[in-house]
Every structure is written in C-alpha cells, then in structure tokens.
C-alpha cells in the first residue's frame, strides 16, 4: 500500500511538473480563462480557445474501460485518434465480466486513472456515495467552454446528475428501443396483423400456440418466450403498454412505486393468463436469456418481447440457420385498455465516464482531458472510434456507414473503442448504420416513434440513501411476489401483503426520501 501510494505520488508529481511546463509555454492567452483565481497560477491558460498556432505538446491521458471482446485491440485506431486529437493515450482495457471487481479494487487502492469508465447504471449508482464524498471532479460548470461537449443532451445529462451536480459524460443509447420482434411469416399465414393493443397481442400469442403456424401438423409452438428478468425481459415493456408508470409516478400528489398502481396488477394478470393458457414458456421464471433466445431462434416461439428491437439482426441471423424461410419484423405500438400508447424509457445512457481527483490533479489538467473528449465529439474522431478506418473497417453508402463483412476484424480492432464513444450520432455527428434487413429499418423508425409516447422515470435524477444501500435487496421482495402472482401462488391480497412487507423493511423510507427530493 505505502509503496503504491509513493509511486503514485511520484508519477503524479511528474505529470504535474510536465503540465506546468506545458502551461508555461502558452501563457500568452491568459485572457481566455473564465475564473483565473480558481486555477493554480501557472496554469492560467485554459485550453478552451486553441487559436494559437504553436504546436502543443500532446496531452498524456490514461483511460480505463471495460472490454466486451476477448482480446485487447491493437493500436491501429488509437494511433489515428492520437494524431487527430494531439494526445498520447494509454488505454487500460479490462474484461467486462470482471470489470466491477477491477473498478472496486482500483478505487480502494486509489489507483484509478484520469479517465474512468464505469460499466453500467448499476456501477454508477454504487459510485454515487463516493461522488458525493467529493472523490471525483465536477464538470458541469466547465461544459459551456467546450463547444462540442456542450451539445450533449441536457435531459440525459440531467439524468446522470448527483445531487443536482454534473460529474460525468455519458455514452448515449436510444431512449426507448424496447418492443416486439415477431414471426411475420407466421402472422401472415394466420392472417394476423401486428397487434394494435394488448388484447390483440394476447390473441396473437394464442393463435401462434394453437393454430400450428409452422404447418408441421403438430402442436409444438408457443406464443411468447420470456425469461427470468422483470426489467429487461417482457414484463416491463408490456407493463408500460398497460399504462403502468416507469418505476415511479405521482399518485394523490405523492410519488409512489409502480407496483402500487392497478395497471401493474393488470400486467401480472395478463402474463398469468398467458402462462395458464400455455401461450408462453412455462418455465419463464427460471429461463435464462440464452435459453429464451435459443427457443426463439430454433423456431419454437413466435414473439420475443422486451430487449432491444435492434437485436433483430442477430436473432434473424440465427433463426434463418434453423428455419430458412422465416421472416421477422418489429413492432412496438401496442395500445392499453384506454387506447393510449405509452413506452417505457431508459435514462438515455448505458455508461458514464468519471474523472477521479486522485489522478487528475487540478482543473487545468481536467480541462485538457475534457478537451480530448471535446475532440471525440467531432464527426472525424467519433466515426474513427465507432466505425474504424474508412475503407478498411467500413464504407460510406448513401451517407451511412456500412460495416465490412469481416466481422472478426471489427471485433478485434474497433469494438474496444466503439463502446467508449461519448454522446450519440445526433450530438457527435457520426454516421448512422446502413441497415438492409426490413425489420431492422422498421425498428429504427419505431425507436424514434417510441420516444413520442415515452414515459420517463421521475426518480432518475433523484437520490434516496436507503435505495442506494438496500434497494436491490428490497426489490427482490417485489420481484418474487410478482412471479408468485403470475404463477398463481399469490392472490391480490397476498401481493399487497408483500408490498406492505417491502414498505416495512425500508420501502417506506425510500418513498419518503424520493418525495423529499422530488419536492425540492
């Protein structure tokens, strides 16, 4: 430990001295600084305005991020990025499977690098306490100095705030990409249209089960395939169609959790009826995602609900291996009993970046790093990191990027960087992907359409100390009760008793805390 902090001290001293040397070089432009008193004297040059013609020394930046492939990518892309952004980058890739461990241990030993990517919303939630404790730089007030970073969507930035302050940059994802992927060939054969409301959805599942859509004369198909996951499985998506709020909503002037709303019960009844009729897989409470996907791609099931509609590409690829003449399509406009559309929305990001104070010594250094991210949000750099090198990894067709057929090459050289691009194509100007599968093109339209009916989670930017420490554990009570209700082991009164149980074990406090934060 002591040895480590000593090396850390040495290296940070070294960086610091280099930085101040660097700052000294460009000191002519002191006027550009907004708040000269705040920075450390030698570094009055804010890096905002780089009108200077003098070549700057490349900024050295260490970046830690999760890797979703097996091998660390070669430097091909990195070298190009360095040239474009005048930086010297050191990427530390760690396998996504064990990333939390790496994150926790690096954090505990104070060895996080200047730029730390988290893994997902959950790791962000766990970091919140440390963020409040002042372990990371607040970047909110600085954003306006960076023209490109300033384009990041305020509503999504808002969702990543901690106590109303912004500490992170986000990696964007479509707000509402959930929906149905279904067997269009089956529906056509049975003369069914895409379900316009929940009743038609039920009827479709029933028809897919009973009317022998694959025409082999055997009753060996089912309607819906679902898995042991209430959020990213079918339940949450369907519940939004029934009009259930997104996690929390106002009820009698107070924020209340979704499972206290009657629509939540309606959704459970829907799945209960589906299961009792045999129109969905009977073991869904114990079915893994892999098993559910396999059931769908083997041609046994007709409706895959939840998940991202953009997954249709990979589902289609595996399905036509087994059933060559299968046709898939996507759908998401399913009205509830009141005839209204509604879609569940995520907070618009899937990962965020933090800047630890233990590695970034002062605001001047922070600004240099932010400048790199500002570059990253230009079309040149974001395309390079997201799509790779034009001509090698992708080509541009009709103003859209068409990835090379050599998927292994992309996996190896681009994927590692692809998952680190800040913002989304609307804000960083990168190419959209060229889609060929009709269902996928349809999905892209629906993703845009969904947002119009999107229901946001009012607690996304709110804080509850009890939720941070006990939320996951408490949520288990509700998840268990929900499954038991759908399997007929709990009735409505039994379910409500479990809700009371949730309240008495900390849920009441969560309600209280969220409401207090909501009123502010």
């Amino acid at each position: 430990m002591t040895k480590k902090s000593f090396t850390l001290l040495l290296s940070s001293l070294l960086t610091l001295s280099m930085l101040s040397a660097c700052g000294g070089n460009n000191n002519k432009e002191a006027a550009a600084t907004k708040d000269p008193g705040a920075s450390t004297g030698t570094n009055t040059t804010a890096t905002t305005d780089s009108a200077t013609a003098e070549p700057e020394k490349p900024t050295e930046i260490k970046i830690m991020l999760p890797l979703n492939t097996t091998d660390t990518p070669p430097d091909t892309i990195k070298n190009e990025v360095e040239k474009l952004t005048n930086t010297k980058l050191t990427y530390q890739f760690f396998p996504a499977d064990t990333y939390e461990e790496k994150l926790n241990s690096s954090f505990a030993t104070g060895s996080l690098p200047q730029v730390t990517y988290l893994k997902n919303q959950t790791t962000f939630l766990q970091m919140k306490e440390a963020i409040k404790d002042g372990q990371f730089w607040e970047i909110g007030p600085l954003l306006s100095e960076f023209p490109n970073l300033n384009k990041l969507k305020p509503e999504i930035l808002n969702n990543t705030k901690v106590d109303g302050k912004l500490y992170t940059l986000y990696i964007g994802r479509p707000l509402a990409r959930q929906g149905i992927i279904y067997r269009k060939d089956w529906a056509d054969k049975l003369g069914l249209k895409a379900p316009a409301n929940t009743e038609e959805l039920f009827a479709m599942a029933k028809a897919f089960t009973e009317q022998d859509p694959d025409g082999n004369g055997k009753k060996d198909t089912i309607g819906v395939v679902d898995r042991n996951e209430l959020v990213y499985g079918a339940f949450k998506t369907v519940s939004s169609w029934f009009g259930t709020p997104n996690n929390w909503a106002e009820k009698d002037g107070q924020l209340a959790p979704e499972f206290t709303f009657p629509q939540y019960i309606d959704t459970m009844d829907f799945f209960k009826k589906l299961r009792e009729g045999g129109y969905m897989n009977q073991d869904f409470a114990a079915t893994s995602k892999t098993d559910a996907v396999n059931m769908f791609t083997s041609g046994k099931a007709g409706l895959y609900i939840g998940g991202s509609m953009q997954d249709i590409d990979s589902l289609n690829k595996d399905l036509i291996k087994n059933v060559p003449d299968a046709v898939l399509d996507t759908h998401s406009m399913v009205a509830g009993a009141d005839g209204k559309f509604a879609q569940w929305m995520i907070p618009g990001y899937n990962n965020v970046v933090l800047f630890p104070k233990s590695a970034v010594k002062d605001e001047a250094e922070l600004k240099k790093i932010l400048k790199f991210f500002d570059y990253m949000m230009t079309p040149e750099v974001s395309n390079l990191m997201y799509w790779g090198i034009e001509g090698t990894h992708y080509t541009v067709v009709d103003g859209k990027a068409k990835a090379t057929d050599n998927k292994e090459l992309i996996e190896r050289e681009v994927k590692g960087f692809k998952d680190s691009v800040i913002g989304e194509y609307e804000t960083n100007g990168m190419y959209q992907s060229l889609n060929v599968l009709p269902g996928r093109i349809h999905a892209e339209e629906l993703v845009l359409e969904n947002v119009k009916y999107g229901v946001a989670d009012p607690t996304a930017a709110l804080d509850s100390a009890t939720y941070t420490s006990k939320g996951v554990e408490l949520q288990q009570i509700i998840a268990d009760a929900t499954y038991k209700y759908m399997y007929g082991q709990l009735d409505k009164a039994g379910f409500e008793k479990e809700v009371e149980n949730w309240k008495s074990r900390g849920g009441a406090k969560i309600i209280e805390e969220y409401n207090a934060a909501y009123k502010k």
Partner: protein
C-alpha cells in the same frame, strides 16, 4: 473374527522436547537446512494468502468506505452482526443452509463409501479403472453445465422427463419452479457430480489393506459381504472419520455457484442460503462490511463445528484431525 484390526498407523516418533544447548539446536537445524528451505514456500503461502487477509475482517466492525480505507472508516461495533441476526429472513436462511448441509452429510456422504466398496469388488483391473473413470468424470464439469443439463431435462417446455411423464399419462411436474423439488434436485446434482470423485481417497485406502487379511478370512470361510464388513470397513474407518470432520468444517459452504444457479423467485424460500444472501445483499449492493460480517459468522460456526466433532471423535477413541 472380530479381532481383525485396522492396519498399523504410522505413529510419529516422539521428538525430544528440549535441546541441551542452543548449539545442538543450531546443528540440527543446519543438518536439515534443505528441509527448512523447502518449508518456506508453504509457510509464505499460508501467511500471505490465509493469515494476512484476516486483517480485512476488521471491516466487519466498521462502516467501510473503499476510498477511506480501513484506517479512515468509521467504527460501528457490532452493528452489522446485529443487523444480520435481526434480519427477518435470517432464521429461514440459516435453516435452509443447515438443511442442505444435513442432506449433504446424511445422503451424499455415505455414497462415495458405498461406491468405493462396490468398485473394489469388481474383478479385473480394466473394469475397475473404466468404471472409476466413468463415475469421476462429471466432477470436471462446471456447475453451469450440470445445472444447464438438468434444466434441459426437466423443463416443462419440452424437457425429456416431463415429456415421458405426459406420455405415460401423468401430470407434468414443474421441477424448476416448485419449492418442493429444489432440495431433491440439489442433492441429486451433488451426487451426480461429486460421488465418483469422492471415491478416490477411499479406494486408495482400501488398496493399502494387507491382502493377507482377506486370505485369512477366506480360510475361515468368510463370504464377500463378511469380508467387506469385517475387514474393509474397519480398515478405512480412520479415513472416513477424518473426511467427515473435514466435511463438517465446511458446514456452511455449500457451493455458492450451484445454489445460485438453481435459485429463482419461486423457490427462494427454500433455496436462499448464506452464500447467496451474501452475494445479493452484500456484493451486488456494495455493502462490504455487512458481507464480511456474514462471512465472519460463517467461519466461526464452521470452526466451532470442527472442534466439537473432533473432540467427540477423540472421546469415542478415534483419532481426530489434530
């Protein structure tokens, strides 16, 4: 017949307790220097990987915050332990853990012994080897594979067992989601995966029995079963007891992975054990201190059990493990 005894045990030679002078001790040390050098890696291993980490147990008495470290975190005394003992599910979780453990001892533990005795009765080395390999191979499959195979077999959606039940006109059984089937599935999977592997030590100790004993008993007219009862079993009694005590030591270690894979919302009331609880409440939620406190509690229970059984086994005239 009854006087057949276990093979002589190796009794360690009594070591002289005191040396006349320190120079003699030095001489002895020097003479065996290579042995001591060989000891170093082992001792280092235990110090580094077993004793130093115990320092970390301190955090179970703190509200540990990673960025403040052990020295900077706030002391909270027994808070995390009292939270564990007052948790409404605690008794249920403890009971589940103990029941699975009891099944391990009562149902699983004798099976490798029986299997070893049966394998020993096989004539012909080829068959013996062949069957032994066959039964211990499942040990090399991970729990994920074992559980997945069972999933495919027993699922309601086309699993072979349920299809057979339906074919013969019985009602399908929801093995995966009914609390009643969790424990049988658990123990069957343990037996399937581990029973063969468990035979190895028993077979080795059976092989060490003096064949003369069998010959003599055959002369006296003992049949196969009598030989097993009066020669083989008493001969491996020491091994059985040692393994039993070791097993007791891991009383609350039932294999997190295995149970976690079988666990779902429908069978949680019988399937949640201490290990899975540590994972959901502690690690997924980042409550390091709380999960350390649970782990600490678990180790203490294990230690007490081992000491008790060891004492009992010595009382009844057997050798303990220490």
């Amino acid at each position: 017949m009854q006087e057949v005894t276990a093979p002589p045990r190796v009794v360690p030679e009594p070591q002289p307790k005191k040396y006349k002078s320190s120079s003699e001790l030095k001489k002895r040390l020097w003479r065996n220097k290579l042995l001591y050098v060989m000891l170093i890696p082992g001792v280092l291993y235990f110090i580094i990987f077993k004793y130093l980490p115990m320092y970390g147990l301190i955090i179970s008495f703190q509200d540990y915050k990673p960025y403040q470290g052990i020295t900077g975190s706030e002391w909270v005394g027994m808070k995390h332990f009292s939270r564990l003992f007052t948790e409404p599910d605690f008794l249920n979780i403890l009971a589940n853990t103990l029941i699975l453990f009891g099944m391990n001892i009562l149902i699983y533990f004798p099976i490798p012994i029986i299997l070893a005795l049966m394998l020993n009765e096989l004539r012909g080395t080829f068959f013996k080897r062949f069957f032994q390999t066959l039964v211990y191979l499942p040990h090399f499959m991970s729990w994920v594979i074992v559980v997945s195979i069972s999933f495919v077999m027993v699922t309601m959606d086309g699993g072979i067992i349920n299809e057979l039940l339906a074919y013969f006109g019985f009602a399908k059984i929801n093995f995966l989601l009914s609390p009643g089937w969790f424990r049988p599935m658990y123990i069957l999977q343990v037996i399937w995966r581990e029973a063969g592997w468990g035979t190895i030590i028993y077979l080795a100790s059976i092989a060490a029995i003096d064949p003369g004993l069998y010959e003599a008993s055959r002369m006296d007219g003992a049949g196969r079963l009598r030989q097993v009862w009066h020669i083989t079993l008493p001969a491996i009694r020491g091994v059985i007891i040692t393994l039993f005590i070791l097993k007791i030591g891991s009383v609350l270690d039932l294999g997190f992975e295995h149970v976690y894979l079988l666990l779902n919302s429908m069978n949680r009331e019988v399937a949640e054990i201490i290990d899975t609880y540590v994972y959901t409440a502690g690690l997924r939620q980042g409550q390091f201190s709380y999960s350390t406190a649970i782990g600490f509690f678990k180790s203490i229970v294990g230690l007490i059990m081992v000491m008790t059984v060891n004492k009992v086994s010595k009382k009844i005239g057997e050798e303990g493990v220490y």
